[in-house]
Symmetry: C2
Subunit: 298 residues, 2 copies
């Protein structure tokens, strides 16, 4: 008598959707606006909130409320929560929980970067399914080499999360270092930013993520990408997180001019422009900003 | 009748000692050993502690106790506390308070790096006198340019704290990026690591910190510094935080060979080697390691 075939193992269940797949769905449904939750002390003042952990919690919760239904993505800036120590992180956990409840995609803007064994700690903090800090994607820094992010990227993919690797950032002081030349084996060279871009794109392709990858890039909208050695035409399947719009000087109407064929997968980050509208005006400001991004790509 | 001279304003009180001055005193009194508090999950297991916020608190507190009286400097690795969210940060706050009570110099190993206005949040988190996370010095990342750290460095100096800027880190994946060539105005070029080194040294000199500066460097002991374009002979007044000893391969007995005339201001970071001794053996292991560092410089 032949044994019956074993029941399918639990691991044969359909894989959870990848971050790239989830992001693609959000972009299609709500467009590319990404609302930065940056509770600067001066914004807390302007909102009539205390400069404290309680103030950043309130601003974060109201920003989530104002975004829900008007846009699909929020990006809390961890520094302004960390400012208040463990109480600030407790506030951030509440904001993250509210964002999850509101079905928003959450990018934790933490820019963590360290050696691989230490990055494991950060990866667990931001990706472990039992972590109160869990997010859909995290910004990470490649100062210690793209290779130092290997374990973090793998951990993210395992749980359907993603990372955005800092490549060409929007602040002018970054340019000298990010355009330093990295020597290639064949005697040619690339900019450091371009070498990060290439490694990110290759990583998504190697993972078979040909529609939209789970490993994205931070490419500032104020950066002259071509003169930084970055060809946006090669990035149509790589998510791009784009700071630099608004007070930093880039215009949303230039989205296609800046990112070319990759414009459709850009997360257009805005923060002051919508937070400055205050607690009562913010929902309307987010609705308008989201519509502006969609109409620029229509 | 002439008015009596006004009493000296409160601001005329003698300035608090700088981080460089405080570090110099610690190095003279206790030597260069810096005990890394890295509560990896496998170390928690080995110590019989739970892998939880409570476990990292216990390991951190016992590590502080084991270091007090045997060495002068501790360096908690923030990632392993952040792993547990706000509860992990509360544990870190307890560990930092215990380290302050034990008169240890504390380097927060957080490797934070962001644009200037965001770095203000991190600077307040780690340097504000009312912050539960306050430390004597913080590790910071220059991926966004040395200039992005300007406000953080100024804030640190204001309160007698310091920073260690990542320049040449000890992990092999970092080398390609950190040795990328930065073009100088005169047509020559330097490695990215060397350009950070030069900016740090110049910053200490510009601040008049000619004995020991408040802005230091992370220069891994496993790095071939000369081939990275770094001349250690120019660093005698710059604090150097040196990972890479022990399991990463560098030997404390090579301290002078690696850092030359700057060896006397190196913080020799050790973590696994002393934490692996377990809760009962750690104090002895720290004592031995501290003595080894001192004897190599005698």
């Amino acid at each position: 008598m032949t044994a019956a075939p074993a029941a399918p193992a639990a691991s044969a269940a359909p894989a959870a959707p990848s971050f790239g797949e989830r992001l693609e769905a959000v972009l299609a449904a709500s467009g590319g606006l990404c609302v930065g939750i940056d509770p600067h002390p001066w914004l807390l003042d302007a909102w009539g909130l205390p400069t404290s952990a309680s103030g950043v919690r309130d601003m974060g919760l109201r920003a989530v409320e104002a975004t829900a239904g008007a846009a699909g993505i929020v990006k809390p800036q961890v520094a302004f929560f960390e400012r208040w120590g463990s109480a600030g992180f407790a506030a951030l956990e509440d904001v993250l929980a509210a964002a999850r409840d509101a079905d928003l995609l959450v990018v934790g803007d933490a820019k963590r970067g360290d050696v691989g064994s230490t990055m494991d700690g950060y990866a667990d903090a931001w990706f472990a399914p039992d972590s109160p800090l869990r997010v859909d994607a995290l910004t990470v820094s490649p100062w210690l080499g793209f290779g130092s992010l290997r374990g973090t990227i793998d951990r993210a993919r395992e749980v359907g999360a993603g990372v955005f690797v800092l490549a060409a950032t929007s602040n002018p002081e970054a340019r000298a270092g990010q355009t330093a030349r990295v020597a290639d084996a064949d005697g040619t060279s690339r900019t450091l930013a371009a070498s990060i871009v290439d490694q990110v794109r290759d990583d998504d392709q190697a993972a078979g993520e040909t529609r939209l990858g789970s490993v994205g890039l931070v490419l500032g909208a104020t950066v002259d990408l071509a003169s930084s050695g970055i060809d946006v035409a090669t990035l149509t399947s790589v998510p791009v997180l784009a700071p630099g719009f608004g007070h930093q000087g880039a215009r949303v109407s230039d989205l296609r001019a800046i990112y070319g064929p990759a414009a459709g997968t850009v997360l257009v980050s805005t923060s002051r422009a919508v937070l400055s509208a205050g607690p009562t005006g913010m929902a309307g400001a987010v609705r308008d900003a989201a519509e502006e991004v969609r109409s620029c790509l229509a």
